[in-house]
């Protein structure tokens, strides 16, 4: 269903309307997003120390070449990849499950449950970090509970020390924090489906299961696409969890995700050119994967008729 705005005055009318509706957002982005991003592109071709007053040296793609040869950068890429894969898939799927379960409960429970799952998000990042670091302290709750359940008293599972454990810990925290977010989005998506369809289906004698498969799932597909892309992008952009962990003594290398690396390169080493190059690389990675996701899911217009 491709609209062609050249055809007919209704098309033209819609087109003008389209521009007008989109204009405020575009104007805003031009100033506060596009300009900084273009600036970042430009900076990535320079060799510049943030504090230096001298004019920066233009070095073209050298920063990128350095990155591709840098073991440190590849380790960061690996950290980001591991974190993203380990996190966004559970996030996107479990939240759908939870949303569906919640949706099938009665109203008062719906609110309470949604709130319960969303509550981690309420906790400010700093306060949450304090709590979680306490939990993962060798003397903390994490060890206590696991040892209790697995009946292994006194064993330190080294939540913050071993590579795979510390990665696992960050995934746990991120998952805990954002599960409510995506549940809410899914829930809104489910709420968006007009009840009449269910009622009509029930009249036609469809079972709950059929209702779910033929009505709910197809109509919630745009939301599924939304959530998986957002979840993936957010996971790739993760920063504060890893930052707070490394600040408090956890092993750095396994969780030195690209965003953390960017921050350190810019703020601590002051190599703004290289940091910008890393951001651009990350940007392209995210772009490619998002595009792939969109391709795979192929959003179609859903017609009700």
């Amino acid at each position: 269903m491709k609209y062609n705005s050249r055809r007919g005055s209704l098309g033209k009318y819609k087109a003008i309307g389209g521009w007008i509706f989109v204009a405020p957002a575009l104007f805003y982005f031009a100033l506060f997003s596009f300009y900084p991003i273009i600036n970042a592109f430009y900076t990535s071709t320079l060799q510049k120390d943030i504090l230096s007053l001298q004019p920066p040296k233009f070095i073209g793609l050298e920063n990128y070449v350095y990155l591709f040869r840098s073991e440190d950068f590849w380790k960061s890429a690996e950290a980001t990849a591991v974190f993203t894969l380990g996190c966004f898939i559970p996030l996107a799927t479990v939240s759908l499950l939870l949303a569906v379960f919640i949706y099938s409960r009665s109203k008062p429970f719906q609110n309470f449950l949604q709130m319960a799952y969303f509550s981690p998000a309420i906790l400010s990042t700093v306060a949450a970090a304090v709590v979680w670091l306490l939990v993962f302290d060798p003397r903390g709750l994490a060890n206590q509970w696991v040892n209790f359940i697995a009946n292994t008293p006194g064993i330190d599972h080294k939540w913050l020390a071993l590579s795979h454990m510390v990665r696992f810990s960050t995934v746990i925290i991120y998952f805990w924090k954002y599960i409510g977010y995506f549940t809410i989005i899914y829930f809104a998506g489910l709420s968006n489906i007009p009840r009449t369809y269910y009622e009509a289906a029930k009249v036609d004698g469809a079972s709950s299961w059929t209702q779910f498969w033929s009505i709910t799932l197809p109509l919630v597909k745009p939301t599924i696409v939304l959530v998986s892309i957002i979840a993936m992008i957010q996971c790739m952009r993760t920063f504060s969890t890893q930052y707070l962990f490394t600040e408090s003594g956890a092993a750095t290398e396994p969780i030195n995700v690209i965003t953390l690396n960017i921050y350190r390169t810019a703020m601590r080493d002051r190599y703004i050119g290289r940091a910008s190059a890393m951001s651009i690389v990350l940007f392209f990675i995210i772009l490619i994967f998002s595009w792939l996701q969109l391709k795979v899911s192929k959003t179609e217009k859903i017609s009700y008729i």
């Binding site: 609209y3 003008i16 309307g17 389209g18 521009w19 007008i20 509706f21 989109v22 405020p24 957002a25 575009l26 805003y28 982005f29 100033l31 997003s33 900084p36 991003i37 970042a40 939870l98 949706y103 099938s104 409960r105 109203k107 719906q110 949604q114 319960a116 509550s119 981690p120 400010s124 990042t125 700093v126 306060a127 304090v130 709590v131 306490l134 709750l141 206590q144 805990w176 599960i179 809410i184 989005i185 829930f187 809104a188 709420s191 968006n192 009840r195 269910y198 289906a201 029930k202 709950s208 209702q211 745009p222 957002i230 965003t259 960017i262 940091a275 951001s279 217009k301 859903i302 017609s303």
Partner: protein
């Protein structure tokens, strides 16, 4: 226009008891039980750190970091809350910080929701040449990490002279691509037929948007509102860069300050966090009723 009416069951719901479960789904007993089991267990895990925060906020700091942790406090140390509000320097600046967070988060939420809805609608329903390109451009801004743009952004804002002001806190955060993406996805499945007939009836585009489409996208709007508000409430890095005076700082800055090297009282810190969480909880519960169990479109086919 008269023929098309959208009914919002939740708005009128006051007296009518909800006789149905969220949807027409009903699960048989064992299924029901299992679902409740999963929900409760997950909820328990999710809530534990929170429960920790609640309980610790009334404990003296020695007990907070105690190993093993005692879940039932021996006494209720309400002084934590007093210290939280009073601050380590006795200035009560927390109250002002809360107000700031509230103002900034509300303004950002309002503008974000409105502009995102408009843009999302335009991208979903109003075809124009270059629409896909615009969509991609907007999505692209979501893919650049904030760390990459914060310096040029700071440069722009200081050139305008907006440091240490509400304008500086609000304006650069006013719209975000995530919101636009969300609204677009939700509005895509809105029936075209409804919009087209309204057009035929002579309604202006804006009228259609405001009176027909938006009221039926309430779950999306509310979801976006809640998420945006919460995100701004917790934003640390931008206010850190922009604010200079204590009177302009927001809650996250206060929390970091409270947690500083010289004065670590974890119990009071949890009290600070509790107070900070309150508005979000209130917001959520007051808005939750807009998450309806589905909408009814009536008067369509005739």
């Amino acid at each position: 226009m008269n023929k098309i009416r959208m009914i919002q069951p939740t708005r009128k719901i006051g007296k009518k008891k909800q006789a149905y479960h969220g949807v027409g789904w009903r699960f048989s007993y064992p299924g029901n039980f299992l679902i409740w089991g999963i929900l409760v267990v997950t909820m328990g895990l999710v809530l534990t750190p929170l429960a920790f925060m609640v309980v610790s906020s009334v404990m003296p700091y020695r007990e907070v970091m105690r190993i093993p942790f005692r879940w039932i406090p021996t006494s209720f140390h309400w002084q934590n809350y007093w210290q939280a509000i009073r601050g380590n320097d006795g200035s009560f600046i927390y109250l002002r910080n809360i107000l700031n967070s509230f103002f900034v988060a509300s303004m950002v939420t309002l503008t974000t929701v409105f502009i995102s809805a408009m843009a999302g609608y335009g991208l979903a329903k109003l075809p124009f040449r270059g629409r896909n390109l615009v969509f991609i451009l907007i999505m692209a801004t979501m893919m650049v990490p904030f760390e990459a743009i914060m310096i040029p952004l700071y440069l722009i804002v200081t050139k305008f002279g907006w440091q240490d002001s509400y304008i500086g806190l609000i304006i650069p955060l006013m719209v975000n691509a995530f919101g636009i993406f969300l609204m677009r996805q939700f509005l895509i499945s809105f029936p075209d037929a409804v919009i087209d007939s309204a057009r035929i009836e002579g309604a202006s585009e804006f009228r259609i948007f405001w009176n027909i489409v938006l009221p039926n996208a309430i779950p999306a709007v509310v979801a976006l509102g809640i998420l945006t508000f919460r995100q701004q409430w917790d934003n640390l890095i931008w206010p850190l860069l922009i604010t200079q005076s204590e009177e302009m700082k927001t809650i996250p800055l206060y929390i970091v300050r409270f947690n500083s090297e010289k004065y670590t009282n974890e119990g009071a810190l949890m009290a600070v966090a509790m107070i900070a969480s309150l508005p979000i909880i209130i917001l959520f519960f007051s808005m939750a009723r807009y998450f309806t169990g589905g909408l009814t479109i009536s008067g369509m086919k005739d």
